[in-house]
């Protein structure tokens, strides 16, 4: 199936049925939670200060719940009424707005201590009508400029999103920079197909000290199938054709040690001659 953002605009794609399905799916919940925690980490808010955050594309409040748990007060905007209805049913604490982020925000300057957005930006990349105000660059410009003014100085905004191409990343970052943001892209697990996550990490201001660009999480993908390593090893052996000679010095020493531990009598002492070949005398 193709990506959801190609199928229909968000307010239609996330209709009643899809909104329920999305929220109840435990796998979705898990992914959303992981990404929200990571986004909070990237936000790098000062500890022990109850911040006021904006959740852009809050949906049914899966990410908002985590903000609550972490002790933040938040407000959320989303364009899908069905998702917001589910959010109301779930009884979350944040204030909700039915808003099209491509039309811009009306928040007063310096309203929020930070903003997060999970899996939303890619929805801004499709034009729904031919009207000039619905072209992606125009909507992105409007979104980033109004968001920039709604955030405090200094603060950060972190967006997780699913770009389809480098051109899209280029477009988004260039527009964000024009709107006055600093920062850039952070990629987690860049070498994994499944776990790879793209975060756009934007800074407002920074004063004299430049804000440090966070690093993406690297390292191995933990979701490797079990026994994969053993199979890999066996493949290697097949290439060389022969099995490795097992009975080298280390192997002999290991065996002797084992026999001694078991209390076997007459195990030869270890010496410099252990495991050495005899000279060919004849």
């Amino acid at each position: 199936m193709s990506r959801p953002e190609y199928q229909a605009p968000p307010e239609i794609y996330y209709g009643d049925a899809e909104a329920k399905k999305y929220t109840q799916n435990t796998r979705n919940q898990q992914i959303q939670a992981d990404m929200t925690y990571r986004a909070l980490e990237l936000l790098n808010l000062p500890p022990d200060e109850p911040a006021f955050l904006l959740d852009i594309g809050c949906g049914s409040g899966l990410s908002g719940e985590i903000l609550e748990e972490e002790g933040y007060i938040w407000a959320g905007v989303d364009i899908a009424p069905s998702m917001l209805e589910v959010a109301l049913e779930r009884d979350i604490d944040g204030d909700l707005f039915l808003q099209d982020i491509g039309q811009g925000f009306g928040f007063r300057p310096g309203s929020f201590d930070g903003a997060i957005s999970i899996s939303v930006l890619q929805w801004l990349l499709n034009a729904e009508t031919s009207h000039p105000t619905s072209s992606p660059p125009h909507r992105l410009t409007r979104f980033f400029t109004t968001l920039h003014s709604a955030l405090r100085n200094p603060s950060r905004a972190v967006f997780q999103f699913y770009p389809t191409s480098d051109d899209q990343i280029q477009l988004i970052t260039s527009i964000a920079q024009k709107a006055g943001f600093g920062g850039g892209i952070v990629v987690d697990y860049p070498n994994s197909k499944k776990a790879r996550k793209v975060f756009l990490c934007l800074f407002v201001g920074g004063g004299g000290t430049q804000q440090q660009m966070p690093k993406g999480v690297e390292g191995e993908d933990d979701e490797q199938v079990r026994f994969e390593r053993r199979r890999e090893k066996e493949k290697k052996r097949d290439v060389s054709g022969k099995r490795k000679n097992m009975k080298d010095k280390d192997w002999i020493l290991k065996k002797k040690e084992l026999y001694r531990q078991r209390g076997k009598e007459g195990v030869p002492r270890d010496s410099k001659f252990t495991g050495r070949k005899r000279k060919p005398i004849f």
Partner: protein, 123 residues
């Protein structure tokens, strides 16, 4: 659930509506009270961002007159409690918010304000 804290941060964002677009005026509101956890640090933090006269007026529109008309210099616990009540516990569930400048109406239903604009209003 429009709380006064978000109402106090909200201005009209219709195209060309840049002056006198704050605060939005409440109309035919229905109010619900929900107890929230008192967090004095948060209130103190938000204080610099709030527009006091707009807050007092908005509180009056939803039927709460506990706040003094002028922002006091000193914040004592009693006042913080009052602020907490006004900012965090009063939820507007139904009604509308109207911009004084361009008269755009943002309807509120089920506690969710509809901030969508028509095509000609998009900046």
């Amino acid at each position: 659930m429009v709380r006064l804290i978000t109402h106090n941060l909200l201005a009209c964002h219709v195209k060309g509506c840049t002056t006198n677009n704050f605060p939005l005026v409440f109309q035919d509101v229905q109010v619900e009270l929900q107890v929230a956890e008192f967090n004095p640090d948060f209130i103190r933090n938000m204080l610099s961002r709030l527009e006091w006269t707009a807050l007092v007026n908005a509180a009056k529109q939803v039927g709460d007159t506990s706040l003094p008309p002028e922002q006091p210099d000193m914040m004592d616990d009693e006042l913080l409690q009052k602020l907490h009540h006004v900012l965090m516990e009063i939820h507007v569930t139904d009604g509308a918010m109207v911009c004084q400048n361009c008269n755009h109406i943002y309807p509120i239903s089920n506690g969710i304000p509809n901030m969508l604009l028509a095509e000609h209003e998009i900046g």
